[in-house]
Amino acid sequence: MMPLLAAETISDYLTDEWGWTHVAALASAAMVHVALLGAFFGLPAFAGIWAERKVSGRIQDRLGPTRTGGRFGWLQSLADGIKLLQKEDLWPNAADSMLFRVAPYIVVIASFTAFLFLPFSDNWVAMSLDVGLFLALAILSLEVLGIILAGYSSGSKWSLFGGMREAAQMVSYEVPLGITAVIPVLIAGSMNLNEIGRMQSGWFWNWFIFRDPFTMLAFFVFFTVTLASNKRAPFDLAEAESELVGGFHTEYSGFRWSLFFLAEYASMYFVSALGVILFLGGWWTGIAPIDDFFRTNDSWVVNYLGNVLGFAVLLIKSSKLVFLQIWIRWTLPRLRIDQVMTTCLKYLVPISCFLFLGATAHSVMLPGKSFFFIDSGLGNRAAEAAVIAEPAQSESEVSVAHPKDADSRLALTANSTVSEEEH
């Protein structure tokens, strides 16, 4: 239950066991976290950039990077990084220097902070919040602010255009993004990503994507929308090279420039992981006996190994989605800005609304039934998750004050609807 990476855990351990002072323990814990996060954020970015190069090379019928780092050129990203760090840090005279410098940090902070709420395996989550998904999306949406500021503060019309495009695109695409993200929330009855993931345990047909036709469609809509919100092709209007030189990052160079891309690849991984958790069974293998073996075992070692397995599963799943994003980038031509807006406002928003309504209707009319009309046991798992998530005190209050309400509350959670008997 307790978040594994919570600040209190390490600092408490340090103060209690090692006798450190409170402040020192806190500082050490913070440093440990920073190191962990930095390693985690840096690696996907490097891997992503390398993968992008390799995949694009293969798609374009060439080899991609081969020289650096041996046969596969896997050190290419590192070489790129070193090159970027070496570059001169400059900004234009017309730029608003303060904002120009701050903007990449906003993007990076927003992108990386979102990982705080992402469970990598069962209970492997920095902050297990009830508003987890909501907050993650909120913080991810801060990214756009940085991009707008960057575009504006560069003092260049290409940058300004890019920023404007990005702003319009992001503000628009947040609507279908939110709606499609709410569909799993609706089914799970929680915005806690950890709970959402737990509810897809068992066989793979318990994954939300297989629950009903609407969720299946919703996943594809969600994926499309995340492409747009990450400014990935074919929605990369903000940095359309052929039109805007480099878009919002035209005037950036060196490390600041690399921060944008660090953030972009981190976001790619983040939204992919988010899609996996929301629709594709999260860290579960999809084969019930394997998961149950690790979960129900008493040995903490086995439990730990199970968590590691889950982490690996999540990483593999989200990598596949990232690969998909790269693939799409090199496959589909870029849309015009009006086509982007049309796609969003005229198609994706109505479709997502329809899917939302359909999923709701399915939940109401066939409660607990999955796509294949198999009893998915979702109600039970939801109840389990609720009991786990909710503090014990409310349970006792329930049993004392309103025995009847305990059932209705569980039913509420399971069906994600307000039942009449509540009042």
């Binding site: 919570a6 608003d96 009830d130 907050l135 949406s141 756009v144």
Partner: protein, 204 residues
């Protein structure tokens, strides 16, 4: 720890707000506003109001401020970015504001909060006041309660002791706000529609 975080957030919020006042560039004002509002969201998290904080981030920082910057970019190109107000009015406004602040803060300090807390404890019981620090057990998990309250059920009140009569929650205000937002959506679209092309003089 709590004091540290509070100090950081409060300083950021107040500093951001003051920077908004002092800044003359509209886009910078927006940036400072983001800092101020984001720090306020942090304060909300400290006050164990997760959902409010998240909403603050999503709507204010992610939505409203983007909208504002958008507006800035649409309207305040070139010379309008920095419209300086006269020092006199600045001084006057700051004087009035200072008086106002003194008045409010003075009032806040005058109140016997501990005594009030004790009274409240006597009246409502200790549970509502005796809250441990953030991220403690059961702390900040207000999303479900708020959600059901907006749909008309109050778990935090109806499930408590001595609650014979269920409360009505916030269903009606919620619906009113929904309709209100719809009206605003339509109204704003209508207001901002392109009515005519304005010839901008070339010297701008």
């Amino acid at each position: 720890m709590e004091m540290f975080l509070f100090t950081v957030f409060a300083a950021a919020a107040c500093g951001g707000a003051i920077a908004v006042v002092l800044s003359q560039n509209v886009v910078r004002m927006a940036f400072y506003l983001v800092i101020s509002l984001g720090s306020t969201a942090g304060l909300f998290f400290m006050l164990s109001a997760d959902f409010v904080g998240a909403t603050q981030l999503l709507i204010y920082v992610g939505g409203t401020v983007v909208l504002l910057i958008f507006g800035v970019m649409l309207t305040a190109s070139g010379p309008f970015l920095t419209i300086k107000s006269s020092p006199g009015s600045m001084v006057l406004a700051i004087a009035v504001g200072a008086c106002f602040l003194m008045m409010v803060v003075g009032t806040v300090l005058q109140v016997d909060w501990d005594g009030n807390a004790a009274r409240l404890e006597g009246q409502y019981g200790a549970s509502s006041l005796d809250r441990p620090g953030y991220n403690q057990h059961g702390e900040g998990h207000t999303t479900r309660s708020i959600g059901t309250a907006l749909l008309g059920a109050r778990f935090d009140k109806d499930l408590g002791k001595n609650r014979e009569q269920p409360s009505t929650g916030y269903l009606l205000p919620f619906e009113i706000v929904s309709v209100h937002l719809l009206v605003v959506l339509i109204g704003a679209a209508y207001l901002a529609r392109a009515k005519r092309r304005v010839h901008v003089p070339s010297e701008f």
